[in-house]
């Protein structure tokens, strides 16, 4: 297995071209799959026997929650690659991921609160998953705060990469400690998605996951192009890109 493809990913101009070519495809696919999933989830899927139609919030809540974690993991992986192989492109990917992940976390918290009100009569419930999601949001704020606090782009890349790695190591511990804390004081609450769902409910959810991932790919490639331009100093390949 030649390392050529890996080195190609290390060269900003090639990655910029790749991102430019693939963004519309990912964006378009995300839109189509999402529409199809919405149709399935809102119209075809039967209501849940217990939560009735309120359960349909799962179609936004679950994919956002998964994405908020997956994006942080992608960020930490890109950060590690950036630090180990000193690849500027990897740091650019990590920088591109952060705001998207933070927004997904906001979406998860928002939909979680909107789901909690009908089910438990309160917008905010100290459910272990929601609480972990809140701490994850603070981790994103910390990452973006550190990156903003350091002027020199190269140093900002390395310091925030370090924080992302430390954060991803701590995420499971935080989740475990929050679950422990919750079990001490409350009976475990059944959050969305654990309902025993029939296939008609499940396939739209899977499609929604796919739509969110495709959407993430499209947006991260756009932001990656912006980050690459910010980091690129030698004028050579920028000239024709900006023509």
């Amino acid at each position: 297995m030649s390392w050529a493809w890996f080195h190609r990913f290390a060269s900003p101009p090639w990655v910029y071209g790749f991102a430019t070519r693939w963004t519309p495809w990912f964006g378009g696919a995300a839109l189509l799959v999402m529409l199809w999933a919405l149709y399935g989830g809102l119209i075809l899927a039967p209501p849940d026997y217990q939560q009735k139609d309120a359960f349909r919030i799962v179609y936004i809540h679950a994919p956002s929650a998964t994405l908020s974690m997956a994006v942080y993991a992608t960020m930490a992986l890109a950060a590690a690659v950036g630090l180990i192989w000193r690849m500027k492109v990897a740091h650019a990917v990590a920088a591109a991921c952060a705001p998207i992940g933070a927004w997904f976390t906001v979406a998860t918290l928002g939909t979680g609160m909107l789901w909690g009100k009908p089910m438990w009569g309160a917008y905010w419930v100290w459910d272990p998953r929601l609480t972990s999601e809140l701490v994850l949001l603070f981790l994103y704020f910390g990452y973006m705060g550190l990156r903003a606090g350091i002027e020199d782009p190269q140093k900002a890349d390395k310091a925030s990469a370090m924080l992302a790695i430390v954060g991803v190591v701590n995420l499971p511990i935080i989740h475990y400690s929050v679950t422990w804390w919750n079990s001490l004081h409350q009976k475990p609450t059944r959050l969305l998605g654990e309902a025993d769902m029939v296939w008609a409910m499940v396939w739209p959810l899977l499609l929604m996951f796919l739509a969110f991932f495709l959407f993430f790919a499209a947006v991260v490639l756009i932001r990656l192009r912006a980050e690459l331009l910010r980091r690129e100093r030698s004028a050579s390949w920028i000239r024709e890109v900006l023509k």
Partner: protein
């Protein structure tokens, strides 16, 4: 011994080091000159390994300085703009900790080094009560005490009076006589009696 090849480094948008290359062997002193902002300090910090160059390599004893970092650092003494001293400690205490973590040393050795750099009579006062020149002399004693083979000095004569500058020239000559290597960033040329001088001019970006 010390081989610097093709160093490129950017500070923000400024392309500060543009392919700097030189080699320095035992008994040689590289004199770095250039206007302010030409990258003298950046080059010294890149050689010391405090800064990672984007391109190019620093080699010590034939191996990359980054991969043999700890061995390289144990043979290196770096003195930057500010003497690395704690204000609340005396000169003697500062040296005991600063050099002590590198090599075992006795009080007499510290005393001898302080005497050599003319810092002995104010060595027991808290460093914050000393003048910039006196602090520079204590820091120079530290460089001497480290017994390092390679000296990286960033404008070693700043804040020093006339005979202080003479002292720096003598110390460098002695280091070269011990077949050591010195890379010094200087404003005005340093008159060195003995030892081979390798001038290196850096143009501003």
């Amino acid at each position: 011994m010390l081989n610097v090849s093709g160093l490129h480094l950017w500070r923000g948008d400024r392309h500060v080091l543009r392919g700097v290359s030189f080699t320095a062997n035992a008994g040689q002193c590289v004199l770095l000159t250039g206007r302010n902002g030409a990258g003298k300090t950046t080059l010294l910090r890149a050689i010391a390994g405090l800064l990672d160059p984007e391109e190019g390599q620093v080699q010590w004893r034939g191996a990359s300085a980054r991969s043999t970092r700890d061995e390289f650092h144990s043979e290196l003494a770096y003195l930057g703009h500010e003497p690395p001293l704690k204000g609340d400690l005396t000169g003697r205490e500062n040296l005991r900790y600063l050099v002590g973590i590198r090599r075992t040393l006795s009080a007499d050795e510290i005393d001898a080094a302080l005497t050599r750099t003319g810092a002995r009579d104010f060595a027991d006062r808290a460093v914050r009560t000393l003048s910039a020149g006196q602090r520079r002399r204590v820091a120079l004693a530290g460089v001497l005490l480290s017994g390092a083979l390679l000296w990286l000095l960033d404008e070693p004569t700043t804040n020093l009076d006339a005979d202080g500058q003479q002292l720096v020239a003598r110390l460098i000559e002695e280091q070269l006589a011990r077949s050591g290597i010195v890379v010094a960033a200087v404003h005005h040329t340093l008159s060195l009696g003995a030892g081979e001088v390798v001038p290196l001019e850096l143009e501003a970006a």
